[in-house]
Symmetry: C2
Subunit: 194 residues, 2 copies
């Protein structure tokens, strides 16, 4: 039982890495088998097909890592300062390459959402989970914020702008654009305060 669980985790870790490198469609199961040093039967014992494996990578590796990245800034005592520091640090520390290569999750979303309904539903669920995380923590400090804000709307706006800043700099390979958008995003977030 313990061994089976270890094998399952190994498959997920290796698959996440392969999908990150090649995209889902181009990822080869035989390559995963070779890297895990397991038989086809062992793989199919855990996942009935490649799509099921892809869903598991999304739900158990990518999505939790993505949510965990947002948790510390948003759950900080002051989520406004937390979010500004989070974005500023990214702007300061990330190279142009890192922004351009993009997060594995975003790449997978772009590749799969239009092709497969199972992925689309999981992507939407994850966006809603992130939205709830941000909106709840803004509501927690609502007494410090402007009256009349729609926290869910604000949360989607922040995430969309962050997405947009990386796709804008990605399509021009220019980090200056990313930095400018992040600066203005921080100004917007600070202005949420009364």
């Amino acid at each position: 039982m313990r061994d089976a669980e270890l094998t399952r985790q190994k498959i997920l870790t290796v698959s996440a890495d392969e999908i990150h490198k090649n995209g889902f469609t181009a990822t080869s199961l035989s390559c995963i088998l070779a890297r895990c040093d397991i038989s086809k039967g062992a793989l199919y014992h855990h996942f009935t097909n490649k799509l099921e494996l892809g869903y598991a990578v999304f739900e158990e590796v990518y999505a939790p890592a993505f949510i965990a990245l947002w948790q510390p800034p948003v759950e900080a005592e002051d989520p406004i300062a937390g979010l500004c520091d989070f974005f500023s640090a990214m702007s300061k520390n990330m190279s142009c390459d890192e922004i351009v290569c993009g997060c594995p999750l975003n790449n997978l979303c772009q590749e799969m959402s239009a092709i497969d309904e199972g992925f689309r539903i999981r992507i939407l669920a994850m966006q809603q989970q992130l939205n709830l995380l941000i909106a709840t923590n803004l509501a927690r400090v609502s007494h410090q914020l402007q009256p009349g804000l729609d926290f869910s709307q604000v949360a989607y706006f922040i995430v969309a702008t962050f997405h947009g800043s990386s796709s804008l700099s990605k399509s021009s390979l220019n980090k200056e654009l990313f930095d400018k958008v992040i600066k203005e995003l921080c100004r917007y977030i600070r202005q949420l305060k009364r």
Copy 2:
């Protein structure tokens, strides 16, 4: 001379359509020749190779159409109201499919910027042109706006958020997300006023 120019325009129009439908890489020159009813020689008379044709489609069809789309709202007497109306109308009138299919320009940028330096330079130049258009028109009404705004930064922010709103709704095929982001974008834009 006149005929040659007509042929060149026809090639550009047909190519823009083919690139929109298939992407640049998958676009076939022989298909363009067939639709234009011209010989290979006639095509090469105007464009030395497929890449040169792609650049011309970008510079003479896609980029001007994109800039022309932003001009009326931004050059309106009140660019703040102009931009809000522009985004609200998009949110109201565009179907989920239209948002998801995306603008041909954005698709081409995503496909080609990382592969070809010639495209990347042209994409950056176009982003800078759009940025200048928005920033100049905000500066024109600066007496009505908050003091201390960096107009170039504000302009990149608006464009990035708009990009992000469509990519967010694209990856979840959910128009509600798009509408929420656009609503908050309009609130942000209106808040630029004193």
